[in-house]
């Protein structure tokens, strides 16, 4: 079904200027109010539409709040064990090198339990694209400390604030993966305001183009909200990203190879 048709809503003579991307299903998401997972989904879907990739895309879902992304993205998909999406994506991409293989992973999934899989996929220069949604907390399990939680951050497993003395320091994964020769495109963007969302969208397009051109591993980290587990309102959550996450996780381009610049 062409989703544009369904959204004209019978208003004659009106041109549809903003509709549901074809790469998004009509399913209502289960995300909490103010959660930016939904925005991230929409950006990925728009990018798949714009590049005409939907019908050749295979998506690997994570374990985390976005586990059901395979019900929202209108493409072939599978659901990996917690943290193993890059390994699964490797198995798919190696056996179908002409397809577009993407993973979508939270920070617990990618930085904690799946640190090894993401690290080696990047080091191998696996031709996959990773969308890394960093909300500095374990959303799905109810707000425990993640390896990305900020020093002093209150979580359900660090009630009086994350102590670096006891739990060490947050990991900046984009910076880490940028060090590896296999990575081609690694950037961090944020979803806390419109300007940053637009930049994120551009980078998502670029990351997918990197894969299409066979230039190596690409990842877009997206700073995201979890108002529910941060214990604040959706609006406050956007401000929290700006005030607390941005200083620790600066948005920017951490790896853009010459070949990628030439795209």
């Amino acid at each position: 079904m062409d989703s544009k048709d369904s959204l004209v809503c019978g208003i004659e003579g009106m041109e549809l200027v903003y509709g549901r991307p074809q790469s998004l299903t009509e399913m209502h998401t289960h995300y909490c109010p103010g959660c930016t997972h939904g925005i991230a989904h929409r950006l990925v879907a728009e990018a798949l539409d714009e590049l005409g990739l939907r019908e050749q895309t295979i998506l690997v879902a994570p374990v985390g709040c976005s586990v059901f992304i395979y019900e929202y993205i209108n493409a072939d998909s599978c659901e990996a064990p917690h943290g193993r999406a890059p390994a699964m994506a490797t198995g798919i991409k190696r056996t179908q090198p002409n397809k577009t293989v993407i993973t979508y992973q939270g920070d617990g999934d990618l930085v904690s339990i799946g640190a090894s899989e993401i690290f080696h996929a990047a080091a191998r220069g696996e031709h996959i694209t990773v969308f890394f949604v960093n909300n500095a907390i374990y959303g799905m399990t109810g707000g425990q400390m993640a390896p990305t939680s900020l020093p002093g951050q209150h979580t359900s497993s660090s009630l009086d604030g994350r102590s670096t003395e006891r739990t060490g320091f947050p990991i900046r994964m984009s910076e880490v993966l940028a060090q590896l020769d296999g990575s081609a495109y690694i950037v961090r963007r944020s979803l806390h305001d419109v300007t940053n969302i637009r930049k994120a969208k551009k980078s998502i397009l670029t990351a997918l183009k990197v894969q299409q051109a066979g230039l190596g591993f690409s990842m877009v980290e997206l700073l995201s909200t979890c108002p529910t587990n941060w214990g604040i309102s959706p609006e406050q959550a956007l401000t929290w990203v700006k005030d607390n996450m941005l200083p620790f996780y600066p948005v920017g381009d951490y790896k853009v190879t010459e070949a990628v610049k030439g795209l």
Binding site: T57, V60, N74, C78, A80, R84, A87, R94
Partner: protein, 358 residues
């Protein structure tokens, strides 16, 4: 085709690619490594997928991904590595995907050693991962059987869309024997209807092991159990030797089964009525044949290279109709034929003693 002198691990690797293996992912571990090494060369020569993964955890998830692509895929490992694959195996089972996993078992628990063992019997037949599922498990006792079972493994995996484990012990992996390899199968195989190939001209497909509603999950479990029921009724395989007039039945698989064969031969030459049943499938366990024989026999001796893990299955199949004794060596020690023979003689004597009493 003629026989060639082949090492078990190499034979399994070569048989796998001739059976149509399209993508292999693995991690080095003794006594399995030659399998990976052989494929690193041959798969690349043939333009197929070979990748040395960063861990067994990654390897099994790469297999999971390749199985989503609908290709014939495999990994291999030995005991500690097989332990690491359990999560992935469970997800593969929970997604109804076929694949083949080779476990060339070594001494354990822990790092144990690199000597031949059958210590993973419980793990491969019962707890290959969390949740209610069991893989089909094939146990070769020679290099030739390792080859034949590898081909069979891929066919069974495809036939049932099910996980198949080849449980070989370190001796099968390491020893060299003359054996015959199969012809190379044509590799053109169209993608199965569940494969993720991009939703072009069709609705999207999703492969997932997640069923949020308990009833849905139960329905999925019932489907697995029904399939296992069919597998139990159609796929029990075993080898038997001189069971017709046997009073004592020796049961052993893999290397232990082969040693037991030699011991049974010696016992026969001494005039003892002893027969051998060597399970070739550990799951489904050849329970039908064993319970049939249980009517006729007066005793059972189980021989294994572990603490007696198969005894439970034998006991269930025999159903109390005959006394069961066990002889096993652990930790990578391979029993000698005379040790088994003296255990046969002892078990036989107990049977005769019972007869005398009667």
């Amino acid at each position: 085709m003629t026989k060639e002198l082949l090492k078990g691990n190499v034979a399994i690797a070569e048989a796998a690619l001739r059976a149509g293996l399209e993508a292999y992912f693995g991690y080095p571990i003794t006594p399995q490594t030659e399998l990976l090494e052989h494929l690193s060369k041959r798969m690349v020569e043939l333009g197929r997928v070979f990748l040395q993964a960063e861990s067994e955890v990654a390897a099994i998830n790469m297999v999971y991904g390749a199985a989503c692509s609908g290709v014939r895929t495999m990994t291999s490992s030995s005991s500690p590595g097989f332990s690491l694959m359990q999560e992935g195996l469970s997800y593969i089972a929970g997604s109804d995907l076929p694949c083949v996993v080779v476990d060339v078992m070594r001494g354990g628990p822990g790092l144990g050693n690199i000597m031949p063992s059958q210590g993973d019997y419980f793990q491969v037949t019962r707890s290959a991962g969390h949740g209610d599922f069991r893989p089909i498990v094939l146990a070769p006792a020679s290099v030739q059987e390792a080859i034949d079972f590898t081909v069979l493994a891929f066919d069974l995996a495809d036939k049932y869309r099910h996980l198949v484990v080849i449980a070989a012990d370190g001796l099968i992996g390491q020893m060299m024997e003359p054996a015959e390899l199969p012809e190379m199968r044509p590799s053109s195989r169209s993608a199965p209807d569940y494969a993720l190939t991009g939703a072009k001209g069709r609705p999207p497909r999703a492969i997932t092991s997640l069923h949020m509603a308990a009833e849905e999950e139960e329905a999925f479990n019932i489907k697995i159990q029904q399939r296992l029921g069919v597998i139990r009724s159609l796929e029990q395989r075993w080898f038997e030797y001189k069971v017709d007039d046997a009073l004592l039945l020796v049961i052993g698989y893999g290397t232990a089964g082969r040693i037991a064969y030699t011991a049974v031969e010696s016992a026969r030459s001494k005039g003892l009525k002893v027969g051998l049943l060597r399970p070739q499938t550990l799951y489904p366990f050849p329970e039908d044949r064993i319970s049939e024989l249980a009517d006729q026999i007066e005793g059972v001796l189980v021989v294994e290279m572990n603490a007696g893990q198969m005894v439970e299955d034998v006991r269930l199949a025999v159903g109390g109709q005959a006394p069961i004794s066990f002889y096993g060596r652990m930790g990578g020690v391979v029993p000698m034929p005379d040790e088994v023979l003296s255990n046969i003689e002892a078990a036989y004597e107990r049977i005769s003693a019972r007869y005398l009493v009667e």
